[in-house]
């Protein structure tokens, strides 16, 4: 009895055991993220079924069945439609995009002069990228080069007529070139104009304030198409006889004025969010209006509303597609113009072209919104209330 020692004392620690199967790895993840409750499970199953039902056909249409290369519409139409594809075939017509790609980028810009557009594009990227990366120094000269020198250079390069460059009328511009030019000019005009309007709206001078309010509210109340109609039909009436405006320039003015009203409201939001102490502090230091605004208020206000400003930019970029309604050919307008091209007209052409144009727009807009999130996080130095 005394010899038998029934007590058991473990000498060494047990090895850590893996959690039960339901509490680890994929199973755990699925239990918490997909099948947490019965309702969740039902939703997941419905969503998964929808995905299984919709994704393979879309994938097939986009990639597997798609006609990637070809010289004309025959590769994108079935035998009954006069093409080479078997009956019942349906797939994207990327050959259409492929064949007209240069048109979609440059419009009718003369082929032998397109290096000028490319050069402007390269300059744009070279100046913009260092401006966007916070670590790169020399921001001020870079910004001056981008916002003041680059537009002048780009103007002479694109329009020509000087320095031995042949003149290219804006009517032959088209495609992504037009979209980017209108957005760039719109963005770089609307920001300063919007800031001025916002300051005017918060001004203590009643006349200035009233004028700014009227302008902002009028423009924000009407659709861009109306503004563009106005720019293209009424602007010529407003000018002295004999003075004519380039159609492109008229659209530019319309878009820039329209965007500046929206920008003004965004900036005003930032101005209102600055606590009164900042204004009073600046005044107590003896700063005048412009010093106070430029050195104390605007830097803080603009920082607060960066997301709003970028959203306005994105809206402006998307709105450039509307110029196609007043018969100018931006990216969307050019793509749409080619739908009626007899060489490429097929049932698959419109959808393919629209998806291509949408993809280009999407990349630009998505890029801008991601960059705005990045800047927001970077500038979020804890002052946000």
């Amino acid at each position: 009895m005394t010899d038998t020692n029934l007590s058991f004392v473990r000498q060494e620690m047990l090895q850590g055991q893996t959690p039960p199967l339901a509490e680890r790895g994929v199973v755990k993840w699925m239990r918490t993220n997909l099948f947490a409750t019965p309702v969740d499970a039902v939703l997941t199953i419905i969503a998964a079924l929808a995905l299984v039902y919709f994704v393979p056909p879309v994938f097939n249409w986009l990639f597997v069945e798609a006609a990637w290369v070809g010289a004309d519409r025959s590769v994108c139409s079935t035998t009954a439609q006069g093409g080479i594809q078997p009956e019942g075939w349906s797939g994207a017509c990327w050959a259409f995009v492929n064949a007209n790609f240069n048109q979609f980028m440059y419009g009718h810009y003369p082929v032998d002069q397109r290096w000028r557009v490319n050069l402007v594009g390269v300059l744009f990227v070279l100046l913009l990228v260092p401006l966007l990366i916070p670590r790169v120094s020399h921001k001020v000269p870079n910004a001056i080069a981008f916002f003041f020198v680059f537009p002048i250079v780009a103007f002479f390069l694109l329009v020509g007529g000087r320095f031995g460059l042949s003149y290219v009328e804006t009517a032959s511009w088209g495609g992504l070139l037009v979209t980017l030019v209108i957005s760039f000019v719109g963005i770089s005009v609307s920001l300063p104009l919007g800031i001025a309007l916002a300051l005017g709206r918060r001004s203590k001078m009643p006349v200035i304030k009233l004028l700014c309010v009227i302008f902002i509210e009028m423009v924000r109340g009407i659709p861009l198409i109306t503004v563009l109609f106005m720019a293209s039909y009424m602007l010529p009436l407003f000018l002295p006889p004999g003075v004519t405006f380039d159609k492109f320039l008229r659209a530019l003015i319309g878009v820039a004025l329209f965007a500046s009203a929206y920008m003004a409201e965004v900036v005003r939001g930032g101005l209102q969010a600055i606590p009164k102490g900042q204004y009073e502090g600046a005044e107590s230091l003896g700063l005048g209006y412009w010093q106070k605004t430029g050195l104390i208020i605007l830097p803080q206000a603009l920082k607060l509303v960066i997301p709003g400003i970028v959203n306005t930019f994105i809206g402006l970029f998307k709105d450039t597609s509307l110029v196609s309604i007043i018969s100018m050919f931006d990216l969307l307008g050019t793509v749409r113009q080619h739908f009626s091209d007899a060489n490429w007209a097929s049932p698959q052409t419109p959808l393919s072209g629209l998806i291509f144009a949408g993809f280009i727009f999407w990349i630009f807009c998505f890029g801008m919104s991601r960059y705005s999130i990045f800047m927001e996080n970077r500038l979020d130095t804890g002052h946000k209330r």
């Binding site: 993220n33 009643p206 109609f229 969307l332 419109p350 919104s369």
Partner: protein, 397 residues
């Protein structure tokens, strides 16, 4: 100004020169701005008059009484023919704009709230799907979405003879969406009255139940009663007077006969505006719900409220305060974006106005009408939403 009041005694109050007095400067700049605007306005008016005289164009709104001479494809609410006047044509355009705006706003709000709540779901798959939806539609131009539906989807549908057969006797083909129309009958009229009576009754019950709860603490199943009233009364009318009959579209050789039909232009505009705006509304809803502090729902749980009442009574009313102002501007955006109808030929105000502008050359008048109509639509929407906002706003002591 303040600086003058604290000027040292003896140095004279008017030491600052007039040039540096902020008030004088203010007047100077305002007069300058006013003069510039008036000058610009005079110059514009002068040029316009000269240009109009040179082009021998008449002015004034008298042309609105002239015969339009063009047909409008869609005029569901008013009689219109090419013999009607320009004013009637514009009125058809205004009604069409309002139709697509109202229907679009309702649909966009529903989709937007579903997707916005879906983006906050605990379910990974639902969350990701909603994110993809929002990111896709937010980052493409609305015009492209309209063309996507119009050229990409609806015109790629089969011809009338191979119409897609959908439930409830509806058909879909490249000429639009065909659906049965209700044949008017006394039962239908009675059911309509019943529906209105049901809604009014439900509202009255809600008020009574609320008062009773405040007085006694007893709750009353308002939701079920309201549902019973709103569905039950029209149903009763149908049982008494007979169920309504429908005029179903019948597949003919070349087209569908009978029923009513919604054209592809309206469909694509409506779908595009709804889907596009819904992506923005979804973001607003998400921000609104996340803007309600976690402490609020925790406090509600601590008081013993369950998940449903917590959402309904605590989170949603507070989230609505954040949601409503940006939601208003999205509604206005949708209304303004409906002007993109001109691109696909849906006869909204801008499309009709554009036709009139091309026919008569009255650009100033037509653009003025555009501005008046859109500005009044904006003001009406803002007024309604401000009223709604004031109703929902935080009532402080």
């Amino acid at each position: 100004m303040a600086s003058q009041e604290i000027a040292p005694v003896g140095s004279g109050g008017d030491k600052t020169s007039l040039l540096n007095d902020p008030r004088i400067r203010g007047y100077f700049f305002q007069i300058l701005a006013l003069a510039a605007i008036v000058g610009l306005g005079y110059w514009i008016v002068h040029n316009t008059i000269e240009n109009l005289q040179r082009a021998r164009l008449a002015t004034g709104f008298g042309f609105l009484n002239g015969r339009s001479g063009f047909d409008i494809s869609s005029h569901p609410f008013t009689a219109y023919s090419s013999d009607s006047t320009f004013a009637q044509a514009l009125w058809v355009g205004v009604l069409n704009t309002m139709t697509v705006a109202v229907v679009g706003i309702v649909t966009a709000t529903i989709i937007g709230f579903i997707v916005g709540i879906g983006r906050l779901s605990h379910n990974w798959l639902i969350r990701k799907l909603c994110t993809v939806y929002v990111e896709v539609f937010r980052n493409v131009p609305p015009l492209l979405v309209i063309f996507f539906w119009y050229l990409g989807v609806l015109s790629a549908l089969p011809q009338a003879r191979q119409s897609i057969d959908l439930p409830f006797g509806t058909y879909l083909n490249n000429r639009g969406f065909f659906l049965p129309s209700i044949v008017p009958s006394t039962g239908l009229t009675l059911a309509g009255i019943g529906l209105i009576a049901g809604i009014v009754g439900a509202l009255l019950v809600r008020r009574w139940a609320h008062r009773r709860q405040l007085a006694t603490g007893q709750t009353f199943p308002v939701g079920l009663t309201a549902l019973g009233l709103i569905i039950g009364l029209p149903l009763l009318a149908f049982i008494l007077k007979g169920f309504p009959t429908f005029d179903y579209p019948i597949l003919g050789n070349f087209n569908l006969r009978g029923g009513t039909h919604v054209g592809p232009e309206f469909m694509s505009l409506y779908l595009a505006l709804s889907f596009y705006t819904a992506s923005f509304i979804a973001e607003i809803v998400r921000a609104g719900i996340r803007g309600v502090g976690k402490g609020q729902s925790e406090a509600a749980h601590a008081l013993g409220l369950r998940a449903g009442p917590t959402t309904r009574l605590v989170v949603v009313p507070q989230a609505m305060r954040i949601i409503i102002p940006p939601l208003t501007s999205q509604y206005l955006n949708l209304t303004k974006n409906s002007s993109l109808a001109v691109a696909i030929g849906y006869p909204d105000l801008v499309a009709v106005g554009g036709t009139i502008l091309n026919q008569t050359g009255r650009s100033i008048e037509v653009v003025a009408i555009f501005m008046i109509v859109y500005l009044s639509l904006s003001v009406l929407t803002s007024l309604f939403m401000n009223w709604f906002n004031a109703k929902m706003a935080l009532v402080e002591r």
